[in-house]
């Protein structure tokens, strides 16, 4: 193999340079302060865990795990998420305290990239786990806190989409009965976002026209709160009605929290094939092409650490949050004013005004800045008052 060049890093690994480091630190602090003010307690767990415990309990696919061997030959993994390690801690060391416990974390997680770059293989997550309470108030608290944290971090435009795995599974069970293989097939189409495949597979089943229509309708059950009653009307199934009832209760509580403007509902939201067991949600910002945050109820994880306890939580991708906040929040932007000897007075006045409005302004003599620094994209606005400049009068 060719020798590595000095600047090379493993696929998906990135440096955090001072500018971005600073922004990340601020975002992390904003999130942590909000989380702490709701009484959650921060903890940390090791970066390395055993494959057979945390590695296998994690929601992340094994192909995405970084693995290594310790000196005794055990397979270790770099933690791919924080939920599984925290479930391990809650199931072993915190059990004696009595449930519920409200825990929080911030730290790097690792997910190997196999095909291409464009996605980091190590990134920081900030999140909470609310362990040992199976009530709608717990689900609502986590969602309301999610909204609160994002707002505190300076994000103005975002959307949380809430679903319920119980509804989808209930509807599939009602229609396909004990034929779990077929239910699983349709669940997988939803998970893979393949609606074309979903509809084609429907034509190949021997279920009634009415049932086919109901499943097709599932694909469009998304929108504001009123979609919940539409969803309720297409089934008489107890499990589905229970799920809808939970979502309606959730909506009422979120109204009290005053966060419903950020929330929409989507009954075909499947974030993971098997991990979630109740209400689940995903968060999006218009500036990002991929998920900002996600969360939900996962009642099967703690039992895999031999503890009967239900849990819910969320995780925010810190790098993506910073990216979205930067684009939404002009306060993070810097304006560059270029002057020459003649226009200094005017430039100074302009800078004062802009600074007074809360902008960050760099005042720079035109002759003393290198062309390269001028191209620096950290400057979001350029006012050139020097002779020949765009804003020169």
């Amino acid at each position: 193999m060719a020798n590595r060049l000095m600047f090379e890093k493993p696929l998906g690994m990135r440096d955090t340079l001072p500018f971005f480091y600073n922004q990340k630190r601020k975002a992390r602090e904003a999130l942590s302060n909000a989380i702490e003010s709701w009484g959650y307690q921060f903890l940390d767990t090791p970066m390395l865990e055993y494959l057979e415990t945390v590695g296998e309990a994690s929601a992340i696919d094994e192909t995405q795990l970084f693995k290594l061997l310790d000196q005794q030959g055990h397979t270790l993994v770099l933690r791919p998420d924080m939920t599984a390690p925290i479930a391990r801690v809650a199931a072993s060391q915190l059990k004696e305290q009595g449930f519920p416990v409200r825990l929080a974390y911030d730290g790097p997680v690792f997910r190997a990239q196999q095909i291409e770059g464009g996605k980091p293989a190590q990134f920081e997550q900030v999140g909470v786990e609310y362990i040992g309470e199976n009530s709608i108030y717990a689900d609502a608290e986590v969602i309301a806190l999610q909204v609160q944290t994002l707002k505190e971090a300076g994000l103005d435009h975002f959307q949380l989409t809430v679903g319920h795995i119980g509804y989808v599974k209930g509807l599939l069970k009602e229609i396909f009965g004990d034929d779990q293989e077929t239910s699983e097939l349709f669940l997988r189409f939803l998970y893979r976002k393949n609606y074309v495949g979903f509809r084609k597979a429907l034509q190949d089943t021997d279920i009634s026209k009415e049932d086919q229509d109901r499943l097709k309708q599932l694909l469009s059950l998304r929108g504001e709160e009123d979609v919940l009653s539409t969803a309720k009307n297409i089934t008489k199934n107890g499990a589905c009605h229970e799920a809808i009832h939970e979502l309606q209760q959730l909506h009422e509580i979120l109204e009290s929290y005053g966060v419903t403007e950020y929330v929409s509902y989507d009954l075909n939201l499947i974030s993971h094939m098997s991990y979630y067991s109740g209400i689940l949600f995903e968060g999006y910002a218009p500036e990002l092409g991929s998920l900002l945050c996600n969360g939900g109820r996962y009642d099967q994880l703690l039992p895999s650490f031999q503890t009967e306890a239900s849990a819910t939580g969320f995780a925010v991708r810190l790098d993506r949050l910073v990216e979205a906040v930067n684009q939404q929040n002009a306060e993070n932007n810097r304006t560059l004013i270029l002057f020459d000897d003649r226009s200094f007075q005017k430039a100074l006045k302009e800078a004062k005004d802009l600074r007074g409005e809360g902008s960050r302004v760099v005042l720079q003599h035109r002759n003393n800045i290198e062309e390269k620094a001028l191209q620096n994209e950290e400057f979001t606005k350029l006012i050139d008052l020097s002779e020949g400049g765009a804003d020169h009068e």
């Binding site: 464009g118 435009h157 959307q159 989409t161 976002k193 393949n194 609606y195 074309v196 495949g197 509809r199 084609k200 998304r222 929108g223 929409s264 989507d266 995903e282 999006y284 910002a285 218009p286 990002l288 092409g289 991929s290 998920l291």
Partner: protein, 206 residues
Amino acid sequence: MNDWLTIAMPKGRIFDEAAQLLKKIGYDFTDVEESRKLILEFPEYKMRLMLAKPMDVVTYVEYGAADCGIAGKDVLLEQDRDVYEVLDLEISPCYLAVAGLPDKPLSKIAPKIATKYPRVASEYFREQGEQIEIIPLNGSIELAPLIGLTDRIVDIVSSGRTLRENGLVEYEKIADITSRFIVNPVSYRIKSQVIDPIITDLSQEI
């Protein structure tokens, strides 16, 4: 907040058919391919078109560079990207097939397959219980069996003419291919008010 919709469109053959379909629902992009511009803006629709290689449309949509796009099922099968496949537009129909010289059995030891679709080909032969080796090629795949480079090819077949004229026969069909309307997972939620009506209108024209 940008309320424009960015659509990634495949250049070439599929573009014309897709543009005809979009014209039916009120968006006329039929005469844009004359220009060599890669990004075209349509303020009247609040839409921006990105003209990309068919193989790249799905990539732009997955990363959110485009909100939605039109892509062949062959590309979706090969690349397995995280996008919503919401509609079968039923345009540009063709299929993926295994072909080769007539009456030539697969070699017993490490049969070789030439293809632009390594992932689809490996999956297919694995399901058939065959372990094969892939020779990736970018075009004129039919050459490979003719000169004895590989046992078979896996490629798109539309009329079958290229195969016939080169003395090749089709062995098995792998999958039917048409173009699909795909949507970025975030845009699907954040821009649902713009995207949903397009999906509804399109589905009525198919």
